[in-house]
Symmetry: D2
């Protein structure tokens, strides 16, 4: 039954029809699960926040309040824990695949399943040079993430890094930009470059080695950020993208978003001092924002 067929069928009250439903989804967000794997030699800890959205033949509940085709979002929540218990998996990408496959198989009127998972990163506490078997500390605001969109025809898996904060104190310039009546910024030959990297890479197919790819991409971000002789945030972003594509053959494209989190030289002249590029006001806002997608050629 097509969406337009349906519309005719369910329209109960013509006088109220000022518009038609052109897009809709629903689901459960922030389902947080701790999964503990008690291995003989060590414990593995996975802490996830899962968002599920379904698309499909759900017009009735919008138009008439008939819920007979509605999967309760509470049931979606249950499903996360039940499938989390039933299955072994070693990446959030694999768990996202398990979840989306479930919803498409279990409910024939579901046309698309969108699964987003964010992973809290825990690091083993180091004691006497050895990683502890079951004690961890929080690795910070940085997260690993995946967004999977599956329909009955296709699947797209985009993995990523959120909130990777980095700063370099030299080897970054910004010169030769447009100078007109709206410009007051001086050229900077040597500036601090601070950003919080968000990276998203689209896998070529659904069977990448997700974990290797993640670690390779993360290392590329750190290495290129540290070593690139930067003429602009844009250029460094582009170089990171090129290097990631080079090192991760199973990635089709990558999107990087990098705010320019300014450190502004404090004017010490009124106090009879010279600022030798050493004292800065740390700011959160306003901030520059640079984003680009680079696709494999």
């Amino acid at each position: 039954m097509s969406s337009s067929d349906r519309k005719v069928a369910v329209m109960p009250d013509k006088s109220k029809k000022h518009g038609m439903l052109v897009q809709h989804f629903y689901g459960k967000s922030r389902v947080r699960m701790t999964k503990l794997s008690r291995r003989p030699d060590r414990h593995e800890l996975l802490e996830l926040s899962v968002d599920i959205n379904l698309e499909g033949k759900f017009e009735d509940t919008f138009i008439t309040g008939d819920n007979s085709l509605v999967v309760a979002t509470d049931s979606m929540k249950n499903t996360v824990y039940v499938l989390g218990a039933k299955h072994d998996f070693d990446s959030i990408e694999d768990f996202a695949k398990i979840l989306s496959a479930h919803f498409l198989q279990q409910y024939l009127h579901v046309e698309g399943a969108n699964i987003s998972i964010t992973e809290d990163l825990w690091q083993r506490i180091d004691l006497d040079g050895k990683p502890h078997q079951h004690a961890f500390f929080g690795a910070g605001a940085e997260k690993r993430s995946v967004t999977l969109k599956e329909t009955r025809q296709s699947i797209a898996i985009e993995s990523g890094i959120d909130n990777l904060r980095v700063v370099k104190t030299t080897n970054s310039a910004f010169l030769g930009f447009i100078r007109d009546s709206y410009t007051t910024l001086p050229d900077a030959k040597d500036r601090i470059f601070g950003t919080t990297v968000s990276a998203r890479w689209l896998h070529d197919g659904e069977n990448s080695d997700f974990n290797t790819c993640y670690h390779t991409a993360r290392q590329a971000v750190l290495e290129i950020f540290a070593t690139h002789a930067s003429l602009s945030v844009q250029q460094t972003l582009h170089e990171i993208a090129q290097t990631t594509l080079e090192r991760c053959p199973s990635i089709k494209s990558i999107t990087l978003t990098m705010p320019n989190q300014h450190r502004i030289p404090f004017n010490l002249e009124p106090f009879g001092l010279e600022n030798r590029n050493e004292i800065f006001i740390t700011t959160d806002e306003p901030y520059g924002l640079i984003s680009a997608s680079i696709a494999r050629t």
Copy 2:
């Protein structure tokens, strides 16, 4: 010069070319401006946060670090204050139009300007039943917003409300949904319905009466939320959308997003008490999430 011409010209190092730039934008975010209009009888206060993104012929800075076509994001920031000072405007939509027109006129290599503005809502302090001439209190987390996308061919203005928190304590049910092996939620004939409405409406053209439209839409949200006999969040959302389209003729479509912020009945049985639908655990997560776009027919 076409984008593909450009690419050939600047490719300096073939060995590094693993991908091509398929999408990019950059700009300044969180430019916060207070604009005060000192009228004879009262002061008008406008507090805005502006995000600007430009699209256009900016490939060089990505690929070679040549910034000669780059409008510094610091200059974008200056532009907000300069145009904010030069122009009178009485809505964030009008200011967004002034800003986007500026960037397209001033810089011929800019192909698209995207302006998002969020307005802090201040309410006059009431003294002896009269609104004060120059003293205000914060109306809360709720914001008014606009997102404008302008190219050399088109303009799209989407206005909205963010973070409008509402709750109703009866006249909401959720019954008859799919009951299978993943379901534990009981039917609810009378539940608390709490949500935080986000609404975005697309204007038909660029000369709507933005302020009337905003106030009409906001009142429709509140009225329908309060009075609708709700069989599902979806149905109430749909009814709000239909009513807004009915009352605001210049709107082409509306997108509503409404989380279901659950109040869970606390189980008083272990304590020898009955919960007569009066005592609940207030929760933030997990939450349901319902979203739909309704377009005028």
Copy 3:
């Protein structure tokens, strides 16, 4: 049994005793309860977040891990809902009294109960000029709060307002402050004065009319903020405190904390324009912070 007696008894390993427990408390925080009162003509909605801390003879669990005197914090959580269900109350102060009395009566080794409650403020939706019977919208970030400290000898109830954001666009100056080699701020004859008021008032006894007192204090804050000819944030704060003490006879003292949330004039000179005290940079940080306690004489 005195605390020092106890220490001798439980000290299991002298070599580990490098310090002694000089202060300790424990409890449950962020217990969130929605209480709905279904009145014939309207519903009353109360949404609270409760923090409970107990002090008393809890040294054993610290020193030996013997939990036999420990009230589980999970039981404290249960207690909030159970007492919330059993009792009628019309202010958070009264609920705090019910809770603290319970812990002191139920557990003889508890020496002090500290209860903090924060109330989300909901306002009835207005339809056709009438407040709705069961539909509400969120009144913002502002909260009502109480902190109650009860021991077997005494009780102190401090009520308050958190996060009341206000701004006035004139009738505020800041002149004649110390001008030395660290000063760059010019005198301001007419500045914007924006703040977020936090107020805490200590009741004289435990049987104040808490609701009247709250509404009177809140109105005093708004009225004096709006009308005071301010020579400094300090002076306005002091005037608010004096007026609150004047109007609320059952208050013993009041503490006000008011950040100075600066709006900084944007320098339009580089752009050939004059800033007639109308265009400002809205900032969150850094901010001034002024705090004082005023006690009834």
Copy 4:
């Protein structure tokens, strides 16, 4: 001139005197400074947020609006950058001492200076096993902090760690607590123990080796948390405190605050599965809260 002398002198309007100023302070908060030290072999990066509060003879500005003794908070902000530029220091404790000494020396009517500094922790990016000379990544939400209170008679320096998130997946129990009509929590022989440690230690004098002390204390927190056979959060907290006192001889006392951030076993029985202590709901609220101060004997 004593405070009571002053009060008589400035009281301009007896009718308004309903209370007297019993406590007051003011200052500047969130002064954020990046200090870069360009060493021959590497760059040192320090990113701080400084809060300054002064106490002293500031009654006039409260009572009459006379600002002649007021150090503008804007000047305090300038002072942070000026003294940050003038002085070398290798800990936030030393910078706090420089700042407080300045305010007490520069302004004779200042009676107390309270300086709080929070340090963002940056870690060098590791390339080929070597820490990079000038590129860093953010070590997370964890901060290092100091609070210094100096008067003309005394100085107290309290250093600390904020937001150190840790979790252990076994070796933690909670048994034998009070079981009464408010109790539903079962005994737990083996539970996940997750917390976010806040530690504050008071130095004995003002010339501790602050950096060694910080690293020793932080390692003690991690080591004891990981290895302690925990019978309660309280007991682990106490053991951490004892060990820190043992290893840091220059510490007089330590205060630890540790929320109990619950992972709640998900009930898999309705789904025909057994939860072998492996699948949990991760929660933020409500949470237990344990705090204690342990002083050297």
